[in-house]
């Protein structure tokens, strides 16, 4: 039987982003892990404080771009050179490199298309924002004028975090039940 641990879910609600950032910094110094932060608008500079790792979406974009470039080249090579060599405007396609300037616009568009769509789809799938997905926002007021720190902590840490949240100026600290986690070995 796997050992489990029960954690409290805590919502620290703020009316402004400045005390929220302050609370995040204090929690971090106290060694408390911030599970998530919900805000009505993006707050600049919050990522390193909350400890969000740097996005790897750019790497994906690069790979999708290369894929688009390759697909376009393959397609045009097959159509224009291999399958049915065409002579457009006195420029016979005996080899791909002969008329490479003509192929560049399509290569470019395909690269951009694949990188753009691939990135958007990856983002949506990674966030599980698929059709029919239910909203995962634990407090809908954060889409309006409230700022929230979302914590999942054991009793001892929850006690510490409660004091920190309030001292930084939280307008509410709500306990929203518990969550059971498997312990990692």
């Amino acid at each position: 039987m796997a050992a489990t641990i029960t954690k409290k879910i805590i919502h620290g609600i703020y009316d402004d982003e400045v005390p929220l950032l302050e609370a995040c910094k204090k929690l971090k110094t106290a060694g408390i892990k911030i599970k998530d932060v919900f805000t009505p608008f993006p707050i600049h500079g919050i990522d390193p404080i909350v400890g969000v790792p740097r996005t790897r979406l750019a790497i994906c974009a690069f790979i999708y771009g290369l894929t688009g470039l390759g697909l376009a080249t393959l397609m045009m090579w097959y159509m224009m050179v291999s399958d049915w060599p065409t002579d457009v405007g006195g420029k016979p396609n005996w080899a791909y490199y002969f008329n490479i300037p003509a192929f560049i616009p399509i290569t470019f568009e395909s690269t951009v298309f694949c990188a753009g769509h691939g990135m958007a789809l990856t983002y949506l799938l990674r966030c599980m924002l698929i059709p029919g997905a239910s909203a995962k926002n634990p407090d809908p007021r954060t889409t309006n004028d409230k700022f929230m720190i979302y914590l999942e902590l054991n009793d001892e840490q929850a006690h510490k975090a409660d004091a920190i949240l309030r001292s930084a100026g939280a307008s509410e600290v709500n306990y929203k039940g518990t969550v059971t986690e498997k312990l990692a070995y």
Binding site: H44, A58, G89, K91, P101, A102, I104, P105
Partner: protein, 403 residues
């Protein structure tokens, strides 16, 4: 707040004088060594003159593009650039110097001292029906346009700068001058949209008198824009190293780096678009422009293309490279030289033509001379005003800019 009054360091001043001296010496030497060509009656020290034109235009264009960028920041009501506004203004105010050099070149051309522009030569223009038909566009109409560009650009740039410095001494929270500048900036965009294209046709494309391209203006514009952005980056990074401008956040320089990256692609896009259309159509009267470059300037043509396209693409793609200022400075300087060579490629084939012997000390010396003057003028401009604007509605946003 840190020291807002920049003093032009004596060391740099001496350095710029040295550069200017190199420039003057190499221009004089160019006139001595660049002898008339026996079999070409139109070749009279053409390479020396063409070099002066390249230097005049390239640095004038930097001032112009900085003025454009300044107007753009106002028209777009953007906040991030507020902390570097004084740097943009200082670069923009090289414009009168650059335009003076251009005017000097035009006057010398008009009076037949040099033969860079075919349209100043009445006999030549009358010798061919196709050129004769173009005389309506040149002649007095050309001069009218040239004067209009110069007066218009200097008027707007001066007004934008004057309002900006007057706002410093205005009542706190009185932003009326800023909103005036927003309007001015928007009108300058309108003027610039038309004149940036037409001026490049009049001043550069007309060198290849038989050839025409509607895309040429944007191609020149993208080149001058990136050169201006690079000069802003280099100056900002250097001033930070001297201990000024520490209120400019790393994110602001990162943003300028993004501009450098983005406009490199704008340039590539336009350069290639222009090339591809002519390559595809392959009409003799149009392809002549590229044929000339392909035959006598092939190495330089490829160099320009790779420095200005592949180099920034590989070097500036990652985020870290744009936040490492030594790296940014290095890449910026290489692209800066690349765009100077781009102007060389626009001017030389139509003037020096097949007498070109490859890049030499004449090009390097003239470049250094104009560079010295440019640095000297811009740093003098910087030392005349506080390095940070006061009373700007977006100042707070810019001081806390973070991406």
């Amino acid at each position: 707040m840190s020291n807002l009054n920049f003093t032009f360091p004596q060391k740099v001043k001496t350095f710029t004088y040295a550069l200017m001296a190199i420039g003057v010496v190499s221009i004089i030497a160019a006139f001595i060594f660049d002898k008339p060509v026996f079999e070409d009656e139109h070749y009279h020290h053409t390479r020396a003159w063409a070099n002066i034109l390249v230097g005049s235009f390239f640095f004038m264009a930097i001032g112009l593009a900085a003025a454009f960028f300044l107007g753009l920041q106002y028209a777009a009501e953007s906040g991030w650039s507020t902390t570097v506004k004084r740097v943009i203004e200082a670069v923009a105010w090289y414009l009168p110097w650059g335009l003076s050099f251009m005017m000097l070149m035009f006057l010398l051309g008009q009076f037949g001292v040099h033969h860079l522009y075919a349209f100043f030569d009445k006999d030549l223009m009358n010798s061919e029906p196709s050129l004769k038909a173009k005389m309506g566009y040149f002649g007095w109409f050309w001069w009218l346009r040239t004067i209009l560009y110069m007066v218009g650009w200097v008027y707007f740039t001066n007004k934008l700068r004057k309002n900006s410095v007057d706002a410093d001494s205005a009542e706190p929270n009185d932003h009326s001058l800023h909103w005036k500048n927003v309007k001015l900036g928007a009108w300058f965009m309108v003027l610039f949209a038309v004149t940036s294209s037409t001026s490049s046709w009049d001043w550069l494309m007309s060198i290849d008198i038989h050839w025409f391209s509607t895309l040429f203006g944007w191609y020149v514009f993208s080149g001058m824009w990136i050169s201006a952005i690079i000069s802003m980056i280099l100056i900002t990074v250097y001033l930070r190293k001297l201990g000024y401008l520490e209120f400019v956040t790393e994110s602001t320089i990162h943003d300028l780096g993004k501009w450098m990256f983005a406009i490199s692609f704008l340039w590539t896009y336009l350069y290639f678009s222009q090339f591809m259309l002519y390559w595809y159509a392959d009409i003799p009267e149009e392809i002549v422009y590229f044929q000339q470059r392909w035959e006598n300037y092939k190495a330089l043509m490829w160099t320009v293309f790779f420095i200005n396209f592949a180099f920034p693409m590989i070097m500036l793609m990652s985020r870290d490279s744009k936040r490492n200022f030594w790296f940014l400075t290095f890449v910026g300087f290489v692209i800066f030289v690349g765009h100077y060579l781009d102007i060389v490629m626009m001017v030389m084939p139509g003037t020096v033509g097949k007498h070109w012997t490859g890049l030499g000390w004449m090009e390097i010396g003239t470049f250094l001379g104009f560079l010295g003057l440019f640095i000297h003028v811009v740093f003098t401009n910087l030392s005349k005003r506080a390095l940070l604007v006061k009373n700007h509605p977006f100042l707070g946003e810019s001081l806390h800019h973070s991406i």
